[in-house]
Structure formats: C-alpha cells, structure tokens
C-alpha cells in the first residue's frame, strides 16, 4: 500500500486551474521530483500536500489517514522552503530545536537529537551561530536539519537548490540524496531543473499547465518521453515532423522531404502524423554510406566534457553532441555524414 496517495487533487482559483486532477502514489522512502516550467502547478501541488493551500477537490491520504482537510500545523510534515525561512532571531540550534519543542520533547532528548542532526548535515561546529552569519549553503542545511529532526513521514522541498550558485548546487544535489538515503524519509522535491530531477530522484513527475503529463523513473523518462514537450524539456532533442508508413516489411516514418526513417512505429496508425525525437548524443559522425545523412557544420560549441555541433542537413538543422575524449573535434564549415542506431529514435504525437 502506498504511503502517500493523491487522488484527483485539484486547486482552482475561480475558473483558473492551477492544479488539475493530480493522481500520485508515493512509496515509503521514495524520492520524487515534481518537474516543470513556471506555472505548471508543481509548487501548488507541494503547497497542497503541505497544507499551505486548501484543495478545491480531491483527497490526500498519508499512511492510511485522510489529511485532506487537516491544518498545516497538524500534518507534521517537514518543509524546506525556497527561501529557507529560518528564524532570524534564533541560533542554528534553536531553529532546529523548534519543531521538537512543539512536540513537547524534554530538553535532554532534544539536545541529543539536535546534535545528531547537525552532525548529519555537517553543521555541528556552527550550532550557536545566527542565520545571518552563515553562507547560503549552510543556511540551506539548517533548513533541512530543522525539517528532518522531527522525523516527518514526508519531507517536502521547494526548489531547494535554486538559490545556490552552480558549483554549490551540484554538490548539494548529491548531499541531499545522501542525507535522504541515510534517513530514509519519503521525499518530494519541486524543481524546474531537469538535470537536478534526473540525477537524484527515484521517479519524476513532469507537469505542464496544471497536469501531470508523465510519471516515470529518470532513465525511462529520458529515453521514452511521451510528448514533444517532455522530450524537449528533459534533455535536448532534435524534432522531425513526419507521417507513419506501415507496410508488410515493417514500419517507417516518411519525413517532410520524403526521406524514409526505419523506426518502430509502436501504436501509431498508418498515416498518422508524428514527431520523431532524436537525442543529440545518439547521433554520431560516420563515413559516407548508404543510409547516412549528409550535413554541414554551421556552428560548434565547446562545453568542457562535450562538443556540441549545429549541423545543417536535408532534415533541417540538427544538434549533435559527442564526448570530449581528447581526439580532435570536427571543424566548423566541414562537410560531414551523420548516422544513428535504428532503435534510438522515439515517436511522439505532434504538439498541437
């Protein structure tokens, strides 16, 4: 039985649906990310689970208990706010202690818990400091400690890494995952950064315009996006419009200029309009041969660990990336040939 269940949860402001019909089952100990652009409803979902926004419709169950109408100070969930929301007039230790005081825990027990938690987040040396004396990364760890020390059934994170600079963000991603694994708390994180979501989640919920459009494990989400939007939002992609053509020998897609791509058309009917998604890292340079695509390098970008090429071809402008393995990159304006394996192309319904 799932630990946290959302059934048909919706939030409307007048006629405007900020969250529409969210159905989600979260297992105990899972790390779930709510991913999407601004306005997609991910923050609304988190607020609804937290109890900071009342839902218009639907039901939320936690460990068998209906929490739909419970006020926020009775749900007992751990929340890490985007701005951290630390109590500026209290020390780190006092901040972490607050939730335990609300639970009437005796002082010696509190002190033990606080010490343990601060050790877990590597802040034991800073227990008597005030938030204004801490760096951004340290403040965030205080926020996490404060939310975790109360041993909540669910930990809610609202864009926890967006206020950190790039390098720190990367470090904190893994730190977050380490802490979560160690403590084992069911966690739901809101983010607009797909790399973040993919790297540390067990499952990702992609949201668009108030609805969940795909819920999958990161690898599956990346390799088998269900829509054009997801394909482009999660990772980079090349999109090629075309039509399915089924015949006795198999299925193929006929592209705009008449080229045929051999590809598994899955459930699409013959003649259906589709968009072919090709990931840049799945394309590679090759010698001219039958079935390869001729192209011309328009621009080249160096990204450190990768080279990114913009290639013009009969199929339009394509992006191709290859690892920087030390070998010389292809020059700009060079003529090249591209190819890819048959099973890497994905078909999705065209964006209306």
């Amino acid at each position: 039985m799932s630990f946290l269940i959302l059934e048909g949860v919706s939030k409307y402001y007048g006629d405007f649906g900020a969250l529409i019909d969210m159905n989600l089952s979260v297992e105990r100990g899972e790390f779930i990310s709510l991913l999407g652009p601004s306005g997609c409803g991910k923050t609304t979902t988190l607020q609804a689970i937290a109890g900071l926004t009342p839902v218009t419709r639907g039901r939320m169950t936690l460990d068998g208990r209906d929490i739909t109408h419970l006020p926020v100070n009775q749900r007992g969930l751990g929340i890490v706010f985007q701005s951290y929301a630390l109590f500026p007039h209290m020390t780190v230790a006092e901040n972490v202690s607050f939730g335990l005081e609300m639970r009437k825990m005796p002082k010696h027990e509190r002190d033990t818990q606080i010490a343990q938690m601060l050790k877990l987040v590597h802040l034991d040396a800073h227990a008597q400091r005030y938030p204004r004396e801490l760096s951004g990364g340290q403040r965030q760890r205080v926020a996490i400690a404060r939310a975790l020390v109360i041993a909540p059934p669910v930990l809610l994170l609202d864009e926890p890494l967006s206020n950190l600079d790039a390098k720190l963000r990367e470090e904190m991603q893994f730190e977050l995952r380490r802490i979560q694994r160690k403590v084992g708390t069911t966690t739901i994180m809101v983010t607009h950064d797909q790399a973040e979501a993919l790297s540390i989640s067990d499952r990702v919920v992609v949201m668009e315009a108030g609805r969940a459009t795909q819920i999958d494990a990161p690898y599956r989400l990346y390799e088998h996006p269900k829509t054009e939007f997801i394909s482009g939002f999660v990772g980079k992609t090349n999109l090629l419009p075309g039509r399915v053509s089924r015949s006795a020998s198999g299925s193929a897609v006929v592209l705009a200029q008449g080229q045929r791509l051999t590809v598994d058309a899955g459930e699409f009917a013959d003649g259906a309009s589709v968009t072919v998604c090709l990931r840049p890292e799945k394309l590679f340079f090759t010698e001219a041969a039958n079935g390869t695509l001729a192209g011309h390098i328009e621009e080249r970008f160096f990204l450190g660990s990768q080279w990114l090429y913009r290639v013009s071809s009969d199929l339009g402008e394509l992006e191709l990336s290859c690892a920087n393995d030390g070998s010389a990159p292809v020059e700009e304006h060079a003529s090249v040939h591209l190819a890819w394996a048959d099973d890497v192309a994905r078909l999705v319904a065209p964006q209306p």
Binding site: V72, P88, F98
Partner: protein, 303 residues
C-alpha cells in the same frame, strides 16, 4: 558606481539592521578621509558652501541654546570667558519646572506605552488582513498627522469641558496617545511588511499553534519596530506643545508648555538651561533609537 545605489534590499530584516548599524560605524570611521575627497569630486564647491550654510542654519539655534545655558551672567549672553552651572542649578530648584518635567515624563511614558498597545493590534489588522473599511481605518488612525494639532487642541478642550476632564492627567495622556499613535502605527505596519512570512509558515509546519507563532516568531521579529515606535512616540509626546497648551491645567502642565509660559513672560538663561537639558534628552533618545532601529530609517520612513 554612485554609492547611493543600494540596489535590491529596501527592507532588511530587523537583525540585519543591528548588524548594519555597527558595520556602518566602523566603515564610516575608516572611510572618513577618502570620503572628504569624494564629496568634493561628486558635488561642486558651490554646492558644498550651500550645504555648509544649511547645516549651520539647522544647528545654530540648538548650539546657541546649549552655549547660553552655561553663561555665568544674569542676562542672555554667550559665555566667552567662563562657564557656569548656576542656571542648571536654578532649573533643578525651580519647583514648577521640575514638576512639569515629571508630568511630561509620566505622560510621555504612559502615552507611548498605550499608543503601542493600540497600534500593534491595529497594525496587524491593517497590514495583514483585507477587510471593508481598512483604508478608512488607516486614514483615521493617521489623521492626527494631517489635522493640525491646533485644531485637535481646541477640539479636545471642548471634549474635556463636556466630561469635566480639565485637570485629569489621564485625559491628557489619552489626548497625547491619539497624537502619537500614527508614529507607532507607521513603524508597526512597516515592521510587519518587512517580515518574512515564510518563517511563520515554517513555524506552523513544525506544529506551532497560531498564538505560538505570534508569540515566538512574529512578535520578536517585530520588536525593533515596536520599540522604535515607542521611542518615537515618546519623543513626540514629550515635545508636544501646540495641543497641550489648550488642554493642560495648572496641575498637569507639561514641560514644553511651562517653557512656553516662562518664555512669554520673562526670559533669563534658566530657559536656556532647560532647553539645553531637553536637547540632551533628545540626543540620548536619538542614540538609543539609532542603535535599535536606524534613525534615518525612522525619520525618513518606509515610503
């Protein structure tokens, strides 16, 4: 980049403020030399002369009062040759004056405290709730800033006559409360506006009741604003003369009113001594206010 351009943070949280004041003092002393040159660079010499004149103009009456207070002569004169404390002694021996001082102190303390007690709940209602009549209430509570104290004075006089309140210190205090509440209210509302609501939400999520959140999170964070409001209210009550002239009775005469009465009859350096003492009291209050809240923030306001 011109130093006036602070950029983003218009409303630092209260604790940042205390840190900033201390920082500012240290930085100020260090930068004094550089800044003297930088002032010249930014503004022409004419502007500097103009500015110097304005500064002298603003300080002149206060300086002269403090100087004359120390004169050993019987007449109003600047003590060029010798200083004397005789007029200060005269002040402390003048029973009417001392009585008025205690009256003022008592009224101001009580009035400021009451003003804050009225302003905090009203401020919460105005800053945090949407309700019909909110703008009207805000206008009413700030009206003593627009209605001349003169008009309020005569109006109160009429009210006092109705209730037979003329000799009552309590009624006088209430009149002062009304005059100084706008100052307390403005600061309370500003303190609430600058508060990070998510800290309150965090406290709620950790299981605190609404009252606990108010007591342990909201109130402590509002405290600098409340204290600043109290002090500003106190000073304004202590200094108030225009309304008080109409509603004080011989038993309840406040210090500024007494000084006005003395000044219109006979002027000797004792008046200067009292004035010097009042300036000293104000200076102390200013330092305390600055430490607590930031004097420029209070005087300029959070527009």
């Amino acid at each position: 980049m011109p130093s006036g351009w602070a950029g983003h943070d218009d409303n630092p949280s209260s604790d940042e403020y205390i840190g900033r004041s201390l920082e500012g003092t240290r930085a100020g002393l260090g930068a004094a030399r550089r800044s003297a040159r930088s002032i010249m660079r930014r503004t022409g010499p004419i502007a500097m002369v103009f500015h110097a004149c304005v500064t002298v103009f603003m300080l002149a009456p206060l300086v002269i009062v403090c100087l004359v207070a120390f004169t050993p002569e019987n007449t109003l004169s600047v003590p060029w040759k010798s200083f004397s404390l005789r007029w200060f002694h005269a002040v402390f021996e003048h029973s009417d004056l001392m009585q008025s001082f205690w009256n003022s102190l008592g009224v101001a303390t009580l009035a400021a405290t009451l003003a804050v007690l009225f302003a905090v709940p009203a401020g919460i209602a105005i800053a945090r709730h949407e309700f019909p009549g909110r703008q009207a209430l805000n206008g009413l509570l700030l009206s003593p800033l627009i209605v001349p104290h003169l008009v309020l004075g005569v109006a109160m006089l009429r009210l006092f006559a109705l209730f037979g309140a003329r000799g009552s210190a309590l009624w006088l205090t209430l009149a002062h409360v009304v005059i100084i509440t706008p100052y307390a209210l403005r600061l309370v509302v500003a303190a609430l506006a600058g508060l990070d609501r998510s800290a309150e939400q965090a406290a709620l999520s950790l299981g605190a009741s609404h009252w606990t959140v108010f007591r342990r999170i909201t109130l402590p964070l509002m405290l600098p604003g409340i204290t600043g409001g109290w002090m500003l209210a106190f000073i304004n009550s202590f200094d108030e003369v225009t309304m008080s002239i109409f509603i004080t009775s011989p038993q309840t005469v406040t210090l500024p009113v007494r000084m006005y009465m003395i000044a219109t009859e006979s002027i000797d350096p004792m008046m200067a001594a009292v004035s010097a003492l009042m300036v000293a009291v104000t200076a102390v209050a200013m330092i305390v206010l600055d430490r607590l809240y930031g004097l420029d923030k209070i005087l300029v306001g959070q527009h």
